[in-house]
Symmetry: C2
Subunit: 249 residues, 2 copies
Amino acid sequence: MALTYPEHEIVFHPQCYLSAGHFAGTDAERAAAFLEFANDPVIDAIWFARGGYGSNRILDAVMPHLGDAARRKTYMGFSDMGFLLGALYARGIGHPVHASMASSIGKNDAGVDTGWALGWLIDRDRRGLDPALADGRPAAAFNLAILTALIGSKYLPDLTDHVLMIEEVDEPLYRIDRMLFNMAHAEQLKGIAGIRLGAVTAIAENDPPFGETVDEMILRWCKEMGVPYLGRCAIGHVSTNHVVPFGVA
Amino acid sequence: MALTYPEHEIVFHPQCYLSAGHFAGTDAERAAAFLEFANDPVIDAIWFARGGYGSNRILDAVMPHLGDAARRKTYMGFSDMGFLLGALYARGIGHPVHASMASSIGKNDAGVDTGWALGWLIDRDRRGLDPALADGRPAAAFNLAILTALIGSKYLPDLTDHVLMIEEVDEPLYRIDRMLFNMAHAEQLKGIAGIRLGAVTAIAENDPPFGETVDEMILRWCKEMGVPYLGRCAIGHVSTNHVVPFGVA
C-alpha cells in the first residue's frame, strides 16, 4: 500500500479490534464506528475489514443517520457486508462496491483480489472488474445467503434491469437449492435483467448425494423464475474475486 | 392404528418409497402423487410422511391443479412440509395443520406426538393442541428456515392477526439470528399478533460462542420488529411436538 499508493492512507477504526461474543464489538459499538467514519468528510471510502456475520444487526441503527459526507463515499466489501451494501444501494447512498476486503489477504492468497479492490477504490482502475460487466448493463453482486436474508425487507434494493450476480460458500447443495427457490420466488426480484452465477465453493457434504450440479440447479430455478440465466461470473470466496460496482460502472 | 381407529385406513402412496438423488422420487413423480391423493374424493386427509427438503420444488406444479376434493381435506405435517402448508393456507385450500408425521415414530420416540396428530386428524381431539392455542387467537406454525425461505413469495400466507409460532433444529446461533432478522424485517409479516418460540434443538456449535441465548435473541428481534413476544410454545423437532391447526382451531 505504502509503495503502490503513497499518497493514500488506510485507517483502521479501533472497533475492528474489539470482541463481543460472535462480533467485533457490541452492536452499539459497531454502529457508532460505522457512523463515525461514514459521516467523516475527510474519509473518501469505507473498505470493510471482514465478513462473517452481523452487519444486518446495525442497519436500523445506522441507516437513518447517514449525512452528506456518507452520501459521497464508496463502500466496499462482500459476503456478510452485502447487508450494508444492499441497504445503501436501496437508499441511493454512496457507491456500494462488491470486492474483496482487507482480511482476504492470507497465507494462501497473494492478494491479487485486494489489489483489484484498491485499484478500483483509488484510481477507478477497471482491470479488476468482473469481465461480465463488459456488457455495460447495471449489476449488483451478493452472497446468496445474504441476498435471501434481505428478501422481503426494505433493505433489499430495487434491482430492476440489473444483472444479479450471486456466489456461495460452505453450504450443502440442498440448502443452495432452497435459497435459489427463495430467490426465484421473490416478488421484489421479478424485474431483474438476468442472473449470473459466481463461484460456489467449499460445498458441504449432502447426504444422500443431491443428484444435480449447481449449473443444473441455477438453470432450473432461473426457468421457474422466468429470468434469463446469463452464465457464470468471476466473483466469490476465491482468490480471484472480482470487483462489481453496484449499478453502471 | 388398527386397534385405536379400526374404522380408518392409512394408505401410503407408492411414491413414498421412490428415490431420486436427495428426494423420494423426481419432482414430477412427487407432484403427481400429491395431486392424485389430494384430488381423490375418497381420501379425507393427507398426512405427510416426512420432512427433510424439497416440497418447495413442487409448489408451482401442484398449486394450480387442486380441485374441489382437495379443498375439503386436512393436510398435516411440519418442518419442510411447511412449504406446502403455507402455500395451501395462502390460497385458502383445505385445512393445513402443523403436527408430527408418520416418520416421527422411531427408536427413541414412543409416538405420543403422532398419537396427538392422528387424534386431531380423525376425531378433532384437542388434547394434542399446543397449550398456547387456549387464548383462542388464530395461529400458524413454521420451522424458521422454511418460513424465511417463503418470505417475499406469493406462497407465504397472509398471517395478519395470527400468532406466529416458530421452531428450529440443527442450526448454529448465528444462522438462527440471521433468520430472525429476515423474519423481523419481512414487510409481509408486519401485521401479525405476536410471536411464540417453540423448541430450538440440536443447536450446532457456534465458533466463537455467540454471546446470547435464543431467548435473548427472540426478544431483541421482536422488539426491532415491533411485534409482541408472547413466550414459548410446545412445538418443534421434539417428542412432544404439539398440534397447531392453521387459523382458528
